[in-house]
Symmetry: C2
Amino acid sequence: MNDIVYLNGAFVPRDQATVSVDDRGFLFGDGVYEVVRVVGGVYVDGDRHRARLRRSLSELHLPDPAADGVDLLAIGSELLERASIGSHGEAVVYMQVTRGAAPRRHAFPPAGTPPTVFVSAWVFLPKREQMASGIAAITHADLRWQRCDVKSVNLLPNVLANQQATEQGAYEAILLRDGVVTEGTHSNVFAVVNGVLRTHPNGPTILPGVTREVILELARDTGIEVLEQALTAAELRRAEEVFFTGTTTDVMPVISIDGRRVEGGSPGPIARGLGERLTARMGAIAGKH
Amino acid sequence: MNDIVYLNGAFVPRDQATVSVDDRGFLFGDGVYEVVRVVGGVYVDGDRHRARLRRSLSELHLPDPAADGVDLLAIGSELLERASIGSHGEAVVYMQVTRGAAPRRHAFPPAGTPPTVFVSAWVFLPKREQMASGIAAITHADLRWQRCDVKSVNLLPNVLANQQATEQGAYEAILLRDGVVTEGTHSNVFAVVNGVLRTHPNGPTILPGVTREVILELARDTGIEVLEQALTAAELRRAEEVFFTGTTTDVMPVISIDGRRVEGGSPGPIARGLGERLTARMGAIAGKH
């Protein structure tokens, strides 16, 4: 991809896109982000991502670029056009807003300090092979803060748990807090227990995943019994199916956890069915435009 | 101060010191930092800060610049020389190491990705008036992650709590986790309860403060009874004295919490005594060189 990004009002080559060492994103992780999927040149659930970004900004009292007429998704579309991904490509658009650059102190900088606004896009292909075969996961203590509902760039615990997974040859880590499964390091977790599709309810300890929400809708539409109730570690061990969901994860079946096979040891029917429906839904969104 | 900073091997003007938008400090808060006090041109407890930085880097499996012969404190000294703070000034040196710039993914970047190394220095004068009069504090829920012993730049919860304090006209927030006082947003917390000097024991929920350690030593030397045991919220409310400690906080007496006067409503004798000893100790360190 022609590597142009958007930074603070300008389209610039990635290797010239830099932020001040005094940027609060760099000094404090004081910012939020959003990742939106593009299929056939069209955003998938752009409005839901836009709403979640607005909420993240609001919860942290960050300035909202939209208030100044800056539409990050429109900027993302322009990046796709410039990269000639335009009307056919599969991509993701990454957008991040931080509280800007200012002399270092913990409290917010003076009013009027312009936020740092960064948008980037790159080609993204779904992980079809891994979705078909299923992947390995590990469990890991959920060490994160208590506002995981905000999509902030304070991602160090996610990084460390994901690195653990990688080092153990796994795709992702399932995070456990106080004995229950919360979510993955960059995905939500679903499991089928006694035929019921379970996932952690929304609240401060998980991200309200856009794909999580869509999967719940698709499952209910299909007549699958759904329960938004946290899974215990014991329930996870005896689940009939386990899968991750996410913007770049789609529906990713888990076939082993900590080296133990999940029942059957291959992607289960509910994960496969929902994965197909999700793919079909994306195709329909792309086709409509 | 002549505004030169050190970034990745070069001394550059601050307004030209920038990092890539792909820096993992900016994208994930994937880095650690240290702040060291300079009095009379001399580091205060430089070795303890160096050891803590080494530990932070090691805990996060970050590359240690020292392994490549890069001594961040020596770089800080050079910044002070260039700024003509040299042999007389009062300053702080800020140093930060992130996991470098790489295409965004949660797991660590490829081995050999150079870390981003940033050092900055600025004039710092102790807050003598506030120390003399005492300051207001608020209490705030401790929303941070469970590795607060690592001095990482994942500081969003600290930022939010400190901003709350600022908006309420207070100097700092006292963080409460599971009903006990852990520390401040950028300081440790001490209190005198029934004549005993108390502070939270070291462990994953607090930063092992260098000044905290020094204050414990000074208190023991003076014959003050010391107990490293977490303070409950109820004990905090009836404490005879409360104070913050830190590299840029020294000993800062708290005279009100959430608008309620701490006993007497003025700095207590233990805080004042330890504050004087800390100042004298810094003077002695400066004088020795």
